[in-house]
């Protein structure tokens, strides 16, 4: 068994683009679910919007990269408004069902044959990240701490931009949650009628949370697209949203650092276990499963982990038991 390989893959995953993407997705969910109590089950849709906005703008229409970024942010705002208007006045589970449906709509639209001239169908789109990597300040070469961590200069650029986005989003939320604005959100999470009776426009605050969370999610989509230099519709399935929830709950909802630590740990563990098992199978240490089944076992562990977390430690790593956001009522 190649332990260096196992550790190296795990550590790289823990700080790599996957960790960034899921951290951003979970930070968005933290605003919505963690602080405000809104069940957005369509975060994958927001990531898809971000990713496809860049891809379509650059690859299909040949327009500038930053225009794509702007369009992505704008579309995320629009999508949040569109979802919020019919559902934010209704019970929590309606929002869950409508958002999950909306994310599926986004995925089905971008993968459709009829629109494949624009979105590339099930193949998705490539060749749009050129101008992003043209801005890369890192000269070609290997970076990191051999033999464990090693990234090429392209990855370094994505990671730098990605972690800066994570830090920025977290800082803004840190300030916002300390302010009276954040106080209103936390109060809504507990009892929106009480907040309404105190003269706060609950609908507007929920909408703001939905928009802010969605915009942060779409930034995750940017990193998703840029880190792979390709987008494919089926990467944005509902499971992405559910993993982001797992990440959030693992780290601790309603905590600024929760999603970040949750995401790093999630990917570290997932890849460690996955690679570890693969290596064990390849080296003959484990004989009763095949390499192909390792992926399924990994997924099972995610599901099992999510269940056990909610049963035994719903506040995650960082949460305060007295102030867990889940089920305020």
């Amino acid at each position: 068994m190649d332990w260096t390989l196992i550790f190296s893959r795990a550590v790289e995953a823990g700080i790599g683009s996957e960790a960034i993407i899921y951290a951003l997705a979970a930070i968005g969910l933290n605003v919505q679910f963690g602080y405000t109590g809104l069940l957005n089950f369509g975060q994958a849709g927001f990531l898809a919007i971000g990713a496809y906005a860049i891809a379509v703008t650059v690859s299909t229409f040949g327009l500038p990269f930053f225009l794509g970024v702007g369009i992505g942010l704008l579309l995320a705002v629009l999508m949040a408004l569109l979802l919020g208007i019919p559902t934010l006045r209704l019970r929590a589970d309606y929002l869950a069902i409508v958002t999950i449906a909306a994310a599926e709509i986004v995925r089905l639209v971008v993968r459709s044959v009829a629109l494949s001239d624009t979105f590339g169908g099930t193949d998705g789109l490539q060749a749009f990240s050129g101008s992003f990597y043209d801005m890369n300040p890192y000269p070609p070469g290997e970076y990191g701490i051999p033999p464990i961590i090693g990234f090429d200069n392209r990855s370094m650029w994505v990671l730098t931009v990605g972690w800066v986005l994570v830090a920025l989003a977290s800082f803004v939320l840190f300030m916002a949650m300390k302010s009276p604005w954040g106080r209103v959100l936390k109060a809504i999470r507990e009892d929106e009628d009480a907040v309404r009776s105190l003269g706060k426009n609950v609908f507007s605050y929920k909408m703001q949370a939905l928009v802010i969370g969605g915009v942060i999610g779409s930034m995750g989509g940017f990193i998703f697209a840029l880190s792979r230099s390709a987008v494919q519709p089926d990467l944005f399935s509902t499971d992405l949203t559910f993993y982001a929830y797992t990440v959030l709950i693992l780290g601790g909802a309603a905590r600024i650092l929760g999603p970040i630590v949750g995401s790093m740990l999630f990917w570290l563990l997932l890849i460690f276990i996955g690679t570890g098992m693969e290596e064990a199978v390849n080296s003959g240490a484990i004989t009763f499963i095949t390499v192909n089944q390792v992926g399924a076992i990994r997924l099972m562990l995610v599901g099992l982990g999510l269940m056990l977390l909610l049963i035994y430690r719903p506040q995650g790593i960082f949460g305060d038991k007295r102030e867990i956001s889940i089920d305020a009522r």
Partner: protein, 307 residues
């Protein structure tokens, strides 16, 4: 009534009600709230059907009625928490029907809930701060720059601490509201509602579940609100309390206002007696009655066992 000198607010209120006809829908000299033809139906049940009612400014008005009379539903209509099927009402002369709940509160008409809604995972002081109106820091962008709202926050905190002291909650300042007792929560909810400096305070059963010792101090607070120039409309089942603090009583039964009048005389109104007796069919059985039923049941059992 009372020989000793009355507080100014009480005296003014009593003067306003002097010689007023004890009739449902009677006009008041200076109404803060005027309600016309409010109807709310749930399927076949008409929960509220109020023809006309006025609330006198600066008074303490009690809204009483048997369980299920529609008092809470009536509150919900007036404060925008539920949409009335028909009707209109004005607050300070402004039409309020169809106005959403938060706007109603901002206009100065604040309510509390029958089932307390303390925000239990916020601390007591945060609960209080939330009640303040027009906070600069409640805007997302301004909230990001503490310098813009710190000053106002400090003022709000002072006001909150003052209120907490009056409601004897200052010792609990930094506890989670969830750790308070039921009565303390009622107090907190009332104090929090006052943070917005409302003109009309609508309390849905503020004394329910509060222990008798605390009740007295709560009553004091309510009376004090009137002295501060506020108008109070409250729902209550305890008649002694109603008699003690209210200047005027409105009686609801089966959704309608069936009587109005001063607390001393309205209880003897025969419509009120009917309404309450009608609703009290399942009052405790008398001793003889109980005995008789027991015998019947035993006889039945005997019969069964011999068969």
């Amino acid at each position: 009534m009372h020989a000793e000198s009355l507080p100014a607010g009480k005296a003014a209120a009593l003067k306003a009600f002097e010689g007023m006809a004890a009739e449902p829908g009677v006009p008041k000299p200076d109404p803060i709230l005027v309600v016309d033809n409010v109807v709310r139906r749930f399927g076949g049940l008409t929960a509220v059907n109020v023809n006309h009612v006025e609330i006198q400014r600066g008074s303490i008005t009690a809204l009483i009625g048997p369980n299920g009379a529609g008092k809470t539903t009536f509150f919900n209509q007036l404060t925008g928490f539920d949409t009335a099927d028909e009707g209109q009402w004005t607050f300070n002369g402004q039409a309020m029907n169809g106005v959403s709940a938060y706007k109603v509160a901002r206009k100065g008409m604040v309510r509390t809930f029958q089932l307390t809604k303390a925000l239990s995972k916020l601390t007591v002081i945060e609960n209080m701060r939330l009640g303040a109106q027009a906070q600069k820091g409640e805007n997302f962008f301004r909230g990001l720059i503490p310098g813009l709202w710190r000053g106002q926050e400090d003022e709000i905190t002072l006001q909150a601490e003052d209120l907490l002291q009056r409601f004897k909650l200052d010792a609990k300042r930094d506890d989670f509201a969830g750790s308070l007792s039921g009565g303390q929560r009622k107090l907190l909810e009332m104090a929090r509602a006052l943070m917005g400096n409302p003109e009309l305070v609508m309390l849905d059963e503020p004394m329910a579940g509060v222990n008798p010792a605390l009740t007295q101090s709560l009553l004091g607070h309510v009376k004090n609100l009137r002295e501060l120039g506020m108008t109070v409309l409250f729902v209550e089942h305890d008649m002694d309390m109603v008699r003690d603090i209210s200047d005027w009583v409105i009686v609801m039964a089966q959704g309608e206002v069936i009587a109005e009048g001063p607390p001393d005389s309205v209880m003897s109104d025969e419509r009120v007696v009917d309404a309450y007796l009608g609703a009290h069919h399942d009052a405790p059985l008398s001793a003889e009655e109980e005995e008789r039923q027991l015998h019947e049941a035993e006889a039945e059992l005997d019969k069964e066992s011999t068969e």
